[in-house]
Amino acid sequence: MDYFFTEQQQMIIDTAREITNEKIIPVRAELDEKNQFPREILQDIAKADLFSIFIPEEYGGLGGGCFEVVLALEELARGCVGVATSFAASALGIFPVLLAGSEEQKQKYLPEIASGTRWAAFGLTEASAGSDASGIRTIAVEDGDSWVLNGTKQWITNGGESQIYAIVALTDPSKGPRGASIFVVEDGDPGFSYGKKEDKMGIRSSSTRELIMKDCRIPKDRLVGRRGTGFITVMKTLDMSRPGIASLGIGLAQAALDEAVTYAKQRVQFDKPIISFQAVQHMLADMAIQLEAGRALVYAAAKHIDNHPKDMSKVSSMCKVFATDMAMKVTTDAVQVLGGSGYMKEYPVEKMMRDAKILQIYEGTNQIQRNVVGQELNKEYS
């Protein structure tokens, strides 16, 4: 379908597609097998200016929005969701500075992110705080000219690989979530270290690691936004980023559909290519229908969000749920179409199915997303 992209949007798609075809697809199976972080590919992505898409022009970026990020992520995810996740996590990690940072913070960090010389990560989740963000235990205490942070973040994408971390910590523990603030912690800060590296089912090329802050002392000016506004910034950040996760589902499902159709045309059983059998055709048709519906929703949602509407959270959650549930279904069906071959690592669809699962879990489980949609509906109809 023609989505009437602007010339610049088409350029972003073409560039991301070249990265995927030339740099990602040839090595994705190896990165997956070795659990290896795609450092060189991220450097290629940086050289191609893709990190600069959503950074305002005055900070060295291209000034695009959520929609442009979605277009790039979709293409990268067609190659590998692990690589695309590493790219997306850097955007997620810098959104708090972009949304709530001081002018000095923006001047300092945004040009580095735009050029891809430094990468970011987002530190929210803890052992006791997953879907329930109020379970955060990391604490930040003022001490002279510094903030001193103590606590451990868990399952942080790009942990140990990024240089800039947005850390959510309680500055007024008695106020619960309303006492949370966001800080920039940099690689090498005293008292900041990396813990356990996770061994995952899918997106194995991405790094998922613990961040440990033990009397981690950082300068006063690392507080992002006003004290106590951290939770609001987190919510705004996730509203902006969820369409990106949705687009990973779109790119992944497209890749799975491509593999399934190609295989079904070649595989001969009962003297015919299996695509000539209605049972297979209907599976492929349903995959294509769901995919295109998901793509249309994600594009529309991203464009809508770029206008900063009031119902941002609802729309953002809707597209995340639909596109990622769809990606799980489509990748599972792709394995089914390929049959025994699909189950083998020689073919790329088993990896796609493993990669799909995380999309329903991270950046807010799909159950939590449905809560958001439900709560918003409750408010709208009151």
């Binding site: 610049q8 972003i12 560039t15 070249e18 990265i19 050289k47 191609a48 200016d49 893709l50 600069s52």
Partner: protein
């Protein structure tokens, strides 16, 4: 500050090469054109040297007006400017006339420290134009370079790929290199590069602009005459002899006798 020149060629995409059975020439109609793959490596090497040493990269191509596409692609990948050498009088040039024409263009543009070319073009496969250009410009050259070891304002040290290993050559500048694919991984064109490429002004040079002798260019200036073009029969089985030299000679003689 290095002034670097890269020569590129627009060629038919190798995935889609067909011969016209009537004329025995390459069927170019409806075939997609791409930048010669070796030239992408030449460009990458030039841009990498520019990034480490400072300087400029100029890309030239001799070809029809549509060859401008490869110049814009080069700018998107880091070149500073593109020059299209284009004239109806250049049509039908072989490697002799092409190297003459390029040499005239290089002298017109003037003052390059380093010229980088791909080893060969995938359509003609002669690998003659790079060395030919160096000879006409009377500068030293190294063909089939697989690695740049060191660059200074005065000289460049490179590894030249050989059948069994490599030579290390040190060339005083100005010099010319032709490169093989092992030398680097070409980058993907950047977004800002693509935007710059779209707006870039491409300089055009005609036969008159470069002061070319009409007798030396195009079909007139080309001593090569193509008698016949054909798809070769696939080679049969190959045998590799082993043992001492004497034993190998005996085996070879036996083989030849069997053929007679």
């Amino acid at each position: 500050m290095m002034k670097i020149l890269v020569c590129v060629k627009q060629v038919p995409d190798a995935k889609d090469v067909r011969l016209d059975p009537k004329t025995n020439t390459l069927a170019r109609e409806g075939v997609e054109s791409i930048m010669n793959p070796y030239d992408r490596h030449a460009l990458e090497e030039a841009v990498a040297i520019k990034e480490s040493q400072g300087g400029t990269v100029t890309v030239v191509t001799m070809g029809p007006p549509q060859a401008e596409t490869v110049l814009r692609e080069s700018i998107a990948c880091g070149a500073d400017e593109g020059v299209l050498i284009s004239d109806r009088a250049f049509a039908g040039a072989d490697t002799w006339a092409t190297s003459y024409t390029l040499a005239r263009a290089v002298e017109t543009l003037g003052g390059f420290d380093l010229i980088v070319c791909g080893k060969q073009a995938i359509d003609g496969d002669t690998a003659q134009v790079g060395p030919g250009l160096a000879c006409r410009l009377r500068v030293p050259y190294a063909a089939c370079v697989q690695k740049t070891r060191q660059v200074s304002a005065q000289a460049i040290e490179v590894e030249r790929m050989m059948d069994d290993g490599y030579d290390v050559l040190r060339l005083p500048l100005p010099a010319l290199l032709t490169v093989v694919k092992d030398i680097n991984e070409p980058r993907v064109a950047s977004l800002k590069g693509k935007m710059r490429a779209k707006q870039a002004k491409i300089r055009q040079l005609s036969a008159a602009d470069i002061g070319a002798d009409p007798q030396c260019i195009g079909l007139t200036g080309s001593p090569t005459k193509v008698v016949r073009v054909f798809s070769p029969e696939p080679r049969g089985d190959r045998t590799i002899f082993s043992g001492s030299v004497d034993e190998q000679v005996d085996q070879l003689v036996a083989c030849l006798k069997a053929l007679i």
